[in-house]
């Protein structure tokens, strides 16, 4: 920034405009330097919007590694119903779950579940299925409302908020760190 300011400084000799310009430029520079700050503090969220069982959901981009079309799915026997199976992501095996079932939402209709959204944080990785991925959106945090009376049960625990347009924003960190999602069952139990 300092360099830029120097570059646009007019040649010496024109006294007053020089000072004025300098002031203006400094003010601009300060404004520019400040502008990203409030955003970094989390005034808005960047979320990936997707459709699932005729509802719109969002998960913060921070937790999303990638999205893929679902081509093959290998079911794993002896797992809870929310675990749908395994996929091969460039040689890596990733488990895929149906958050609808994990949230205990009633099975409603028949949906495509054609897309996989892979969530990752530290050591945890898994995919969740979606009917369609709509894209990335920035939503101001102020637009995020706590809950709706209709959002009850297990889903409410993972809720970050609901937007005015009824997008259910899920708490990616909570999903990724929840032990209930981890399957650990020995035969001895």
């Amino acid at each position: 920034m300092a360099k830029k300011v120097k570059n646009v400084t007019p040649p010496a000799g024109r006294k007053s405009p020089c000072r004025e310009e300098k002031q203006i430029l400094r003010a601009r520079a300060q404004a520019l330097a400040r502008a990203p700050l409030p955003e970094a503090e989390g005034e808005s969220l960047e979320v990936l919007e997707f459709l699932l069982a005729y509802e719109r959901y969002g998960i913060e981009m921070t937790w999303i590694r990638e999205t893929l079309p679902l081509k093959e799915l290998t079911p794993v026997p002896c797992t809870p119903p929310f675990v749908l199976g395994l996929i091969n992501v460039r040689g890596q095996i990733v488990s895929v779950m149906d958050i609808k079932r994990f949230f205990d939402l009633p099975e409603k209709g028949l949906t495509d579940l054609n897309k996989v959204i892979i969530l990752q944080d530290g050591g945890m990785v898994f995919g969740v299925l979606a009917d369609a991925v709509c894209g990335v959106r920035t939503i101001p945090r102020a637009e995020l409302h706590p809950s709706l009376p209709t959002l009850t049960g297990i889903r409410e625990e993972y809720l970050k908020g609901v937007t005015g347009e009824r997008m259910v924003v899920l708490d990616g960190r909570k999903l990724l760190s929840d032990r209930r999602i981890v399957v650990h069952e020995e035969t001895g139990d």
């Binding site: 005729y54 093959e72 675990v83 095996i93 054609n114 990785v125 981890v182």
Partner: protein, 751 residues
């Protein structure tokens, strides 16, 4: 000093110091255990180790460790001069000093106040020990010539070896193993290319059939005054020329495909060779001497024996035998466990041993020896009390694991085998048979997972011996591919005792359990599908009325698992199920097959356990869909989404229909021509050919015009519904209001 550089120095120091410490503690224990003879040598050794450690600690400014090793050095300088073994109390002091150094190494901090205090105390007591040693008079710490060279340099001097962090080796091995995937993929590509070649060859056959017709037409076309107009003759000429050109083009393609297949076969051959050599070499690099896991044992035995008021010595043989690092790592815990057990429950108290005319000091031995080129035996034995088989029988019977009268009839071998059982509930078993049960199940599981075996022999008052036979290297994992309910599963080949095929009628129910006969012996029989709790939709086995099965056995329980087909046996690269599926019952891992699909690898130990547990439930409950006499209807499911397809398939199969699946309209038309289909359920929105088009095609064709067809769609507008009816669908179900009874009702009305 540059912080980064300092950190690297510290890391090097930690590795080096750890080695000195291990050498120190091993030598100390040896000194304590061997009378006379080698003492001078050991004094010298300990003195030198302590001295090197001191130098190394000074180089990285670890003052606590430096002063402790200085004090250690002092004690042995004195020993060297006086040729006298330190008093037993001093030995404890020495071990404590080593422990303290170990602790400081872990934290790598100069040490907090308490650590400093402990160090000071220890140094003071060590110095005191030197002073109060008999015939004292020698200076407590004799001057030692300091070498100027840094400890790190010493390591490199004169040796043809380099140090590589083992983690880097792991990554090398991992990458080498990934090459297997390339190998398997190439095999698949070769098969696909072969299929293209076959298709071209069948084209050639068809062409041969029409060639006379083409020749004849050519003659007719060229003959003057033919039955054609000139224009038609010219058109026909064009067509015939094209047909000739087509033949030449296909011939050319066939030739090129053939050449490609040959080149591919050659590439595959050389890749196979390269990958195999690479893997062998990497495996060799990963061979480490057993000493790396055995070195923790002497100290452990010493401490444990002291703690329990016993006397025990550990004799190690064969520590230089080299074993695959991964096997060593896996064996570390089982070894520690077995040795602990020996001290804890095997060796008697000195009083008891005296009464039995045994030396007061018990012996635990760990002997590693090569059995043949590929196998190594690890024997962990003690000369203690042995296992009381009568009590094992009592406990097992009380546990309800076997009937009391049966327990009495079991022979020794089978009873001892039960020591490894973890089945129903091991906890009381552990305490009752003097702890021999604890963790032994885990020992067996680990050993068997590595493809080895473990057996135990015992003699009252003479001792117990655990004999583990392990592979020397983790050979490339081989797995047997089986098919159940359309899914492919893999069973580790090493665990499969045998495979067989029995007639369906060969299954007999004995005492409410299904059994088959193999080699004249009755074997418990279960369906793999039942054990894995897969939906039971039809009788398993193959079309020929026989049941392919494989036998896996864990100790005394051998079980035959029935499947639909045994497909192949091949190398596989074992991968985890990912962090979310940390442990799944009956599943050990997953792998990627040559065609890119994922298949799950089953866990043989779990399968046996699950089968034994499930056997109590009468499996003979008749399934309504099993009435073979009613011919079942086949529904073709056309749907591009894999999840919806699976869901529909499950719903229909549970309701008793046979199913076939297609991914889109084009695929569906192919299925219709090759399979007997009674009804079609199709999605609308699909790539290549959508549901409306498919419906129109079916209605427009001669043979399928009357085939019942249901459209399932996400489109819910009146126009779509009308369009569906217009093209000739018999029913139109909207996805958003889909429920399974709705679909089944519709199907029942149609077929």
């Amino acid at each position: 000093m540059d912080n980064d550089f300092h950190q690297r120095l510290l890391a090097t120091f930690r590795v080096e110091a750890k080695e000195h410490l291990t050498a120190l503690s091993t030598a100390l224990i040896e000194l304590e255990n061997t009378p006379g003879a080698k003492h001078d040598e050991l004094f010298e050794l300990i003195f030198r180790e302590a001295h090197s450690l001191k130098g190394a600690a000074r180089a990285v400014n670890m003052t606590g460790i430096e002063s402790l090793s200085h004090a250690l050095e002092g004690v042995f300088a004195a020993c060297r001069l006086q040729a006298g073994v330190p008093a037993p109390a001093v030995f404890d002091l020495l071990h404590r000093a080593i422990d303290e150094i170990d602790t400081q190494l872990l934290t790598m901090e100069p040490g907090d106040k308490s650590a400093k205090l402990r160090t000071k105390e220890l140094v003071a007591s060590l110095n005191e020990a030197v002073e109060s040693a008999p015939a004292s008079g020698a200076p407590p710490v004799p001057p030692v010539p300091e070498h100027g060279e840094s400890p790190a340099l010493e390591k490199f001097a004169g040796s043809g070896t380099v140090r590589i962090p083992t983690a880097r080796l792991d990554s090398l091995l991992h990458q080498g193993q990934e090459m297997l995937t390339a190998k398997l993929a190439l095999l698949q590509r070769a098969a696909e290319l072969g299929a293209i070649g076959t298709a071209l060859a069948s084209w050639e056959n068809e062409w041969k059939k029409v060639r006379p017709a083409v020749r004849r037409l050519r003659k007719v076309q060229q003959a003057p005054g033919a039955a054609f107009t000139d224009a038609d003759a010219a058109q026909l000429g064009k067509l015939l020329t094209f047909s000739d050109w087509g033949h030449a083009a296909v011939k050319d393609l066939e030739y090129r495909v053939h050449a490609l297949a040959k080149a591919l076969a050659h590439d595959r051959y050389s890749l196979d060779g390269m990958v195999d050599t690479l893997l062998d070499d990497v495996k060799e690099v990963l061979m480490l001497p057993c000493a790396t896991v055995l070195e923790v044992l002497p100290k452990m035995v010493r401490e444990l024996a002291r703690d329990r008021g016993k006397e025990a010595q550990l004799v190690i043989a064969g520590e230089s035998v080299e074993i695959d690092k991964r096997i060593l790592e896996e064996m570390k815990d089982p070894l520690i466990h077995l040795v602990r057990n020996c001290v804890d429950h095997g060796i008697e108290r000195p009083v008891e041993r005296q009464r039995l005319n045994k030396p007061e000091r018990g012996t635990v031995s760990v002997a590693v020896s090569l059995r043949d080129a590929n196998r190594v035996e690890i024997l962990v034995a003690d000369d203690g009390a042995g296992i009381d088989t009568v009590r094992v029988a009592q406990t097992v019977a009380r546990q309800g694991m076997i009937a009391p009268d049966e327990a009495g009839r079991l022979d020794r071998e089978r009873l001892l085998d039960l020591v490894f059982a973890s089945g129903v509930s091991t906890a009381p078993l552990i305490t009752d048979i003097s702890g021999r049960g604890i963790g032994l199940a885990i020992v067996r599981e680990k050993v068997e997972r590595l493809g080895g075996t473990v057996t135990v022999t015992t003699e009252p008052e003479r001792g117990t011996a655990f004999r583990m036979l392990l592979p020397l290297t983790l050979s490339t994992y081989r797995g047997m591919l089986v098919e159940v309910r359309g899914q492919t599963f893999i069973i580790p080949t090493a665990s499969v005792e045998r495979v067989a095929r029995v007639p369906r009628a060969g299954i007999r129910t004995v005492e409410n359990r299904e059994t088959v006969e193999a080699d004249g012996m009755p074997l418990s029989f279960v369906w793999l599908a039942d054990v894995l709790q897969l939906s039971r939709r039809e009788k398993g086995g193959d079309d020929a009325g026989t049941i392919p099965l494989f036998v896996i056995g864990s100790g005394v329980s051998r079980i035959a698992f029935g499947v639909d087909a045994i497909l192949a046996e091949q190398e596989i690269l074992v991968k985890g199920l990912g962090p979310q599926l940390s442990r799944v019952r009956n599943v050990a891992g997953a792998t990627v097959l040559g065609n890119g699909r994922v298949a799950t690898i089953l866990h043989p130990g779990d399968l046996v356990k699950s089968a034994v547990r499930g056997a109590g439930v009468p499996s003979g409950v008749p399934h309504p869909e099993e009435h073979e006499d009613i011919p079942r209807k086949t529904v073709l499911i056309v749907e591009d989404s894999v999840t919806s397809r699976t869901l529909l398939k499950n719903i229909l199969e549970t309701a008793g229909y046979r199913t076939s699946t297609a991914m889109d309209g084009v695929d569906a038309l192919t299925r219709l021509r090759t399979e007997q289909i009674d009804l079609v359920v199709s999605d609308v929105d699909m790539p290549r050919m959508n549901g409306f088009e498919l419906t129109a095609r079916i209605r427009g064709s001669r043979e399928f015009a009357g085939l019942p067809l249901v459209l399932v769609t996400s489109l819910d507008s009146r126009e779509d519904r009308e369009r569906g009816v217009e093209v000739g669908a018999n029913a139109y179900i909207v996805k958003s209001s889909f429920d399974q009874s709705n679909l089944l009702d519709v199907l029942k009305r149609l077929i």
